[in-house]
């Protein structure tokens, strides 16, 4: 059954957090470099909190240290129908949509996190001037 949810992407807030956010983002990376960067960070125990994909298919990330016991799923640059499939699957495993970026080409980049760790992740994002995504069902 298809979802009828409405998704409100994360917002990048102007103001005093902007400098920290810009400093914390990775550079824009090709798919190959991005995959290497994600693997490198995973081995340093860093995981994606937020990602964006540009219209020319470059990706940038904001990484953070996951709380003990947390689980995340990250999907970057996916069409809407695939994103909705991932969202349903994550909701079924008790993960909440944490952050969402939708680019000009309509490609979705999203991060889900285990529900019990959502508030911790939300605080991290807000410290970097990024709002959490909203789902209205």
């Amino acid at each position: 059954m298809k979802s009828s949810a409405t998704y409100i992407p994360s917002k990048l807030l102007p103001g005093e957090t902007e400098l920290l956010r810009q400093h914390s983002f990775t550079r824009w990376m090709s798919r190959d470099l991005a995959q290497a960067a994600v693997d490198f960070c995973r081995n340093l125990r860093l995981f994606t909190a937020y990602s964006e994909t540009s219209p020319d298919n470059l990706t940038r990330y904001l990484f953070w240290q996951l709380p003990q016991g947390a689980s995340v799923e990250v999907r970057s640059g996916r069409p809407k129908d695939k994103f909705e499939d991932f969202d349903r699957a994550n909701r079924n495993t008790n993960r909440r949509l944490l952050s969402l970026h939708v680019n000009e080409g309509g490609f979705y980049s999203a991060v889900w996190i285990s529900s019990e760790h959502f508030e911790t992740a939300k605080a991290f994002l807000l410290a970097h001037g990024i709002t959490t995504a909203e789902v209205r069902i």
């Binding site: 914390s24 990775t26 550079r27 990376m29 798919r31 190959d32 470099l33 995959q35 290497a36 960067a37 693997d39 490198f40 960070c41 081995n43 340093l44 860093l46 940038r60 990330y61 990484f63």
Partner: protein
């Protein structure tokens, strides 16, 4: 002139190919033999074979950060490193425009290059876990 940060490149590649559960790795042969990184909560603590502190190493994305008493430096690996993933999902790494040969065993990885590359003398990393 840009100096190639060989130790940073070794750290990046050693972490990129690190087996799960690794808590310590050492350059057991090649450039800076004996340099060891040990995982602690604030990063990877590096020390030379003689026991000299070489800072706390961390990273994010394509950057390597080294924190010393004099401050923290950031080195952007994208200036030196290229990665291609073939259709067969095999990852090919190049440093300085030259392909890096990568071979591994359960607890070691070897980086090598043709003459002229920074790994012309192969570098062997040995991983261990507590």
């Amino acid at each position: 002139m840009i100096t190639t940060p060989i130790l940073h490149i070794i750290f990046y590649l050693a972490v990129l190919f690190m087996p799960a559960g690794t808590t310590k790795f050492t350059i057991s042969s090649g450039f800076e033999s004996g340099m060891t990184w040990v995982h602690q909560t604030d990063g990877w603590h590096a020390a030379t074979q003689a026991g000299r502190d070489s800072g706390i190493w961390t990273g994010s994305g394509l950057s390597v950060f080294v924190k010393k008493s004099s401050g923290t430096s950031e080195t952007d690996m994208s200036r030196f490193l290229a990665v291609d993933t073939g259709a067969d999902q095999v990852r090919q790494v190049s440093v300085g425009g030259r392909p890096v040969g990568i071979s591994s065993t359960k607890s070691t990885i070897t980086f090598s290059q043709e003459t002229g590359g920074i790994f012309a003398k192969p570098v062997i990393i040995t991983y261990s876990a507590d």
